[in-house]
Symmetry: C2
DNA sequence: TCCTGAATGTGACTTTTGTCACTTTTCATT
DNA sequence: AATGAAAAGTGACAAAAGTCACATTCAGGA
């Protein structure tokens, strides 16, 4: 009972301001909360899409991978969903991306069958879905911008700033190897560029830890 | 009268199979057909989004541009719409992309005010909007893949093949300069790589014209 | 046919990024 | 405190892509 109450409160807190009361009740009724540690794969390339995941708390990174090579696409946070999964209502399909927790996270899983029903019944749902798609498109385009128009050192700095904003801290606890994977580069190159950023006074380097001078 | 009849037939032919009859009638009633020559800008970065454009015939390329630099994102064809414009119902916004005709095209312009109404009334409309968003997302991801994971010579070959498929012809009537812009590279580099492709027997080069050996 | 501007070709060079083969540092265990 | 594995640093080199300056070629109008 306590557990159920807590769950209701959690959902109300994260999603309450997004949906009308009636829909929220339905969501609470049919959704299952899943708790994940950091660095767990929530959804992998090729997985069947059976649920629409809503992030209640924590944070997720969405990345593309092609034969072992990876590239960070965007992050999703509390209140967001993964737009790539929304398609499943229309046509059964599999994931084209990988979603990984980057913090301990709680995720509300809604079976896809409710998607179509809610689309016709709730304007708040329609609004939410369209907003989600649009945000994700915009973020994807921002990613394209970065890869196409920026040099790696600029992308690296942007990456560090984005991370800091996301975590709300100037301290980034990543190894150079992890950063290299997110940016689809190599560890040696990232180490080199980080050293340059340190020389320029933008960051301080420690083992497993980078401290940004400012955002 | 003849003009109106032709217009109705055109819309029915391009969009008829997508929407239920009743919605199609509404579309025909409120939409305005716009005819554009090749290489006309339909929508530019920063433009207000007031209409949802449906491609009736012809073809459009959608590209991102940042201070004079350009990058091709994807193409849209008959029956498609530009997903980036769909957001406008929810929140007034401006375009983040540029849409340019690459063939003489006819486009049906629907005032955005109908979007929300149709979303609640027509399941075919909902399905169409979701499908559009998803297709565009998928294409954007494909573009990200290309930029992130492929070398320029591979991207160039993919570009030529895509063009050929789009136009339904092995002959591509572009200057090296135009290709360089779409791929966000420089003319000299593209000329060099095209020469390599010719040496490998993949293409034949002429002035203003490239002929693919096979798709 | 000749001329001209646009399109294409080319060599020499630079910058950016990636790769390889190591060494050194750091931190958490014994 | 010793040690061992992971993380980070480093020099030398290679590959990919971009830049510059100029030469050549072509297509279409005068």
């Amino acid at each position: 009972m306590t557990e159920a109450r807590t769950q209701r409160e959690l959902i109300e807190e994260s999603l309450g301001f997004l949906f009308e009361a009636e829909l929220l009740e339905e969501i609470i009724e049919v959704g299952k909360v899943k708790s994940l540690e950091s660095d767990q794969i929530l959804l992998d390339t090729g997985d069947d899409l059976l649920y629409i995941p809503f992030i209640l708390d924590g944070a997720i990174k969405v990345s593309r991978d092609r034969d072992e090579e990876e590239l960070l696409l965007y992050y999703i946070e509390s209140g967001d969903t993964c737009a790539m999964t929304l398609q499943c209502t229309v046509r059964k399909s599999v994931s084209e991306i990988r979603a990984t927790t980057i913090e301990p996270s709680r995720i509300l899983m809604i079976p896809i069958m409710y998607m179509e029903k809610w689309m016709s019944n709730y304007s708040s749902w329609r609004r939410y879905i369209l907003e989600s798609y649009h945000s994700r498109m915009t973020e994807l385009i921002e990613t394209v911008d970065a890869i196409a128009f920026m040099r790696l050192d600029e992308r690296l700095e942007k990456y560090l700033v984005d991370q800091a904003k996301l975590k709300g801290s100037l301290e980034i606890k990543h190894t150079h190897q992890q950063i290299a994977e997110d940016l689809h580069s190599s560890r040696v190159v990232i180490s080199r560029l980080l050293k340059q950023l340190e020389t320029k006074g933008r960051i301080q380097l420690y083992r497993n830890r980078i401290v940004l001078s400012s955002i």
